[in-house]
């Protein structure tokens, strides 16, 4: 049991909760119980402060001004890039491209690398558990180029079928784009194995790290992925900022994405020469404030320790699994051997939306619906699930409240 008042392995959850101002608010007259962390996490005071300090203290456009504010803002922005490089184990800060989030990162690769390299008859492999953001960009690309989109099937327990994946790989496979952690099922995919097999077949690999970056220790060099995209807001950072990592030699040879300021070296009406990495992909004034504040989110995670956070979340997941399984009629969707702290379930005869509404009235925030994974829901033959997802600040007491809230909802609906 991890009670709010106790600490596990040096993690003092009570003290951590105090760093998140939103956790002390009331919803519908009850203390907020926030279990929708896979959608977005709440922000610690340090992240909020970083945004305020930027606008109050040194707001300026970066990279061009020679005045003090511009220098301070540029330094903070680039410090954040370096922190992110270290956070995901990239070889160079030039491989860290600031984006609006995972979706933009994936689209950047589809629109630049994809359009330059995919031709008719090529194959792109995704999986049945992908978020729409890692389906639609490839679908658009395949349609435009006459390429084929192939899908790795998900097994009943929520794991990818690796034999089926290996069968899908051919000499025409140019790219494999899969998620490291399923947002709907919590499944942790064996990405190293997926990447190794893809590389053997001569294909590149993009990993959707939207869900994994907050839960797992990420080292892109060890993983050997070619691209890795993630969002700041799912790891205690601000919305509207994310990162696309790409191997330098790939990024260097890819066409640019958006044209504009910052990404150029010299512009005349006859020709334009382009800037180097990473600025080549950061046209226009970037989201400076949120990029800077993202470093504070990384610092927060580092301070408490990724392993300690992971242990805490694993304990919450196993406690929640045990407690939820005791509810009659409840079925957990996704029972992979390795899961992140995401738990999706259905209750026999009840619509997830009805459960979500009745939980909300008890101050409990969960996600209900298809989680932007309609093909996956179709595969399980369900309209959607109720999903509870845990972060570092959640406690077993909150899981008890969820279970009590569910029992009440079931009683009201039956």
């Amino acid at each position: 049991m991890i009670l709010a008042g106790t600490s596990t392995d040096r993690l003092d959850i009570t003290a951590i909760r105090l760093q998140f101002p939103i956790l002390s608010r009331m919803v519908k007259g009850r203390p907020l119980i926030y279990l929708d962390n896979a959608a977005t996490t709440q922000k610690p005071q340090a992240v909020i402060d970083a945004i305020i300090q930027y606008y109050c203290g040194y707001n300026a456009n970066i990279h061009r001004g020679i005045h003090t504010l511009a220098e301070e803002a540029t330094a903070a922005y680039e410090d954040s890039r370096t922190a992110l490089q270290e956070f995901i184990g990239a070889a160079s800060a030039d491989e860290i491209i600031f984006t609006r989030g995972t979706t933009e990162g994936i689209n950047l690769v589809a629109y630049t690398w994809g359009r330059a390299n995919i031709i008719a008859g090529d194959e792109i492999i995704i999986s049945e558990m992908e978020h729409h953001s890692n389906i639609v960009p490839w679908q658009i690309l395949c349609k435009e180029k006459g390429a084929e989109l192939k899908v790795i099937p998900v097994m009943d327990n929520g794991e990818l079928s690796m034999p089926a994946y290996l069968d899908l790989l051919t000499t025409r496979t140019k790219l494999v784009a899969v998620t490291q952690v399923s947002n709907a099922l919590g499944t942790v995919n064996p990405v190293k194995e997926i990447i190794r097999a893809a590389h053997r077949a001569g294909a590149l690999v993009l990993i959707d790290g939207a869900q994994s970056a907050v839960h797992l220790d990420i080292n892109v060099q060890d993983m050997d992925c070619d691209f890795f995209a993630f969002s700041g807001h799912k790891l205690y950072g601000p919305t509207g900022i994310g990162v696309l990592y790409g191997k330098k030699e790939l990024l260097n040879h890819m066409p640019f994405f958006h044209g504009g300021g910052e990404m150029i070296k010299e512009v005349t009406f006859a020709y334009t020469t382009y800037n180097e990495l990473p600025y080549k992909y950061e046209a226009g004034t970037p989201n400076i404030a949120d990029a800077i504040a993202l470093k504070s989110a990384i610092d927060f995670i580092k301070k408490h320790g990724r392993n300690q956070i992971r242990q805490h979340e694993a304990a919450l997941l196993s406690y929640a699994t045990e407690q939820l399984e005791a509810i009659p009629g409840l079925t957990i969707i996704g029972n992979a051997k390795e899961k992140a702290s995401v738990i999706s379930f259905i209750i026999k005869g009840l619509h997830p939306q009805d459960i979500g509404i009745l939980l909300d009235n008890q101050g409990i925030a969960v996600r209900t619906g298809h989680h932007c994974t309609q093909p996956l829901m179709k595969r399980f033959g369900i309209p959607g699930t109720v999903r509870a997802s845990f972060a570092v600040y959640n406690t077993t007491e909150e899981i008890d409240a969820l279970v009590a809230g569910l029992r009440k909802a079931i009683k009201m609906l039956s």
Partner: protein, 142 residues
Amino acid sequence: MEKDIAAIEEAFIESFSFLDTWEEKYEYIIELGKKLPALDEQFKTEDKKIKGCQSTVWLVASYQDDKVFFKADSDAVIVKGLVSMLIEVLSGQAPDSILNARLEFIEKIGMHVHLAQTRSNGLRAMIAQMKDYARAFKIIHI
């Protein structure tokens, strides 16, 4: 002679005024949802679907003696209860009455949260669709 829209809305507002807690209010709506007869399977077709992000509403309209009649169903019971109230208020009314209905009772009984964009439950779209039917019948028949 059927009651006018304002009178039916008023009746709902009065019923809800006796329900003190959120539990009582939702239990009342769930009860209405369960009581609304299921729509015949033959009507549950794509063209009758009002798809929300999470739940689905099916809406069927007909026109008789200058009045528009609605039948509907949903796969989620709370939405179905809310749908049941909308049918009670709008079904059997003249096209103009439906078009002019402001449906303020939804806010007065504290259920306007279900009309918010974020709920994406098809309820907003359903009201728009009911008005579209009224408009269409008016053009065809009047």
